[in-house]
């Protein structure tokens, strides 16, 4: 794979209700990313947006985001999955050689739409949807039970992960203020309300409004734009079947395949020792562990050990505030900050190789993972 770098990024500080119009919010992010990279809008040649028509309550939601997204008279397109998937398309466009500078953004405003209801619309309309008991909560609950049973792990262990994430979020200045809990105890997590047994409220992320934007450039341009380019050295993307009964929910085969492919491209043989930071998009505290194990950062069932090393989700991960359609990009930006040494308050010293992931679907059906590296 030819070298492509992330040369600029911007994350709008998320909020439960951000008190901005989506276009104001989007403009802040796209303008911010351009300013961060020291570029003008004219320099861009392509813009890939990530938003979802159901989340925006609007058919063809990208057609009104043309101006604020910086896409006026630019080669524009939209990916309707996660921001990390949109970056895949941006990456393809840059790799093709047709484009020299790509803006990718992800946006949604859960304060304006019922996210869990929108997920109901993802279910099989010929069976699951009319029965209407498969949803984000119950899928998360079943996944957690499968994981606990498969490896003899206790609910307390998952609560530890949730508390670890929420404590990390407290150190992340761009985390949702409501998710920043410096003094949270494991008991507090274990005593929080049951969403879908054994999944509890504090193991599930808080939804928030937000936008994240990144700018991609090929090697030659990247070196001119910034002194600290962060290279995308590997990418893997895989999708599993929809049917939960066909999958082993205690692991995540699509993430395993995606990570394997990304490591192969990046030339990583031993992810356990080579990867310094992992910013993974887990939909629950339990899924963070499942994804980390699938990515080969720990043996199966031993993911809990990662919270002692601190390299899993130093930003707090999805638990630091979950913006649908933008979260994958936020994970990527957090990993980029770690590599650039700019993660204020939650910097892992010496971080130079990171992975970041994005996903869509129940129990992480469709995963995409990037290997990001600093230096030359």
């Amino acid at each position: 794979m030819d070298k492509v770098a992330i040369v600029g990024f911007y994350q709008v500080k998320p909020g439960l209700d951000i008190m901005m119009s989506p276009y104001e919010m989007l403009f802040e992010a796209t303008r911010g990313a351009l300013d961060h990279a020291g570029l003008k809008r004219d320099d861009l040649s392509t813009v890939i947006g990530c938003n979802n028509d159901y989340y925006d309550g609007k058919t063809i939601s990208n057609c009104f985001k043309v101006e604020a997204g910086g896409a006026y008279m630019k080669d524009e397109s939209k990916v309707e999955m996660d921001g990390a998937h949109a970056m895949m398309y941006g990456l393809m466009r840059v790799l093709s050689g047709n484009h020299k500078l790509a803006m990718v953004y992800g946006i949604s405003m859960p304060s304006c739409f019922p996210y869990e209801s929108a997920r109901i619309l993802e279910t099989d309309p010929t069976f699951d949807r009319p029965i209407n008991i498969l949803n984000g909560y119950t899928a998360g609950g079943m996944q957690m039970r499968a994981y606990l049973n498969a490896f003899g792990i206790s609910e307390e262990d998952i609560a530890k992960v949730a508390a670890y994430n929420l404590k990390n979020a407290a150190k992340n200045p761009l985390a949702l203020p409501e998710a920043q809990k410096t003094n949270i105890s494991v008991d507090e997590v274990l005593n929080s309300e049951l969403l879908s047994a054994p999944l509890r409220k504090l193991m599930y992320p808080v939804l928030c409004d937000g936008v994240t934007a990144v700018i991609l450039a090929p090697e030659r341009q990247a070196r001119k734009i910034t002194d600290k380019p962060v290279w995308i050295t590997g990418v893997g993307h895989f999708n599993d079947t929809y049917y939960l009964g066909d999958r082993d929910l205690s692991s995540c085969s699509s993430m395993e395949k995606a990570a394997e492919k990304a490591y192969k491209i990046a030339g990583i043989n031993d992810p356990k020792s080579e990867i310094n930071v992992a910013e993974l998009f887990g939909h629950t505290a339990c899924e963070d562990l499942i994804l980390a194990e699938a990515a080969g950062l720990a043996d199966k069932g031993k993911g809990l050990s990662l919270i002692n090393t601190g390299k899993l989700n130093p930003s707090g991960g999805t638990m630091a505030g979950y913006t649908p359609a933008a979260n994958g990009l936020t994970r990527i930006v957090e990993a980029v900050k770690q590599i650039r040494g700019e993660a204020e308050g939650h910097q892992i010293s010496g971080a130079n190789k990171a992975i970041a992931s994005g996903q869509v679907g129940f129990c992480a059906q469709n995963n995409i993972v990037y290997v990001l590296e600093g230096g030359e």
Partner: protein, 158 residues
Amino acid sequence: MTLNIDEEQDVSVTKGMIRAEFNFWVGIVMDKFYDGLQEKKFIGTKCSKCGKVFLPPRNRCGDCFAKAEDFIDLPETGILKNFTVTTYKISERKTRNVKKDQIVGLVQIDGADSAMVVPVININPEDLKIGMKLKVVWAKNIKGDPNDIAGFEPIGGV
């Protein structure tokens, strides 16, 4: 056949499709499945290549990308592969805490290779065990729609 869903009410049958704000044609194999429910019978499909049996039926096997249009009658019993207990009800409009335990099970019918997400009833959540044998409970009024499956209960009680 068709199904009609109203948010607060039960599912009702009209002609031709599932109505969930929008209408969905149920298609080749699910049509047969719902016909089967009308006779209190599970009808699945079998992959023409690897022989995997799907319930609810699908007309393609994901592993072989081969046709799965041979119908096969399946029993009323199965095992509990996974479960969760929730008090939340999420509709296409809102999320509500109904403060009443609802057991959601992943039930694999004997002889099938896939599982379906269905309610589990007539059992206390504490007594649930993965791998336990279950049997379908049919609804009082059989209409040939998803609500014909009132749920699954343990065989012989607990």
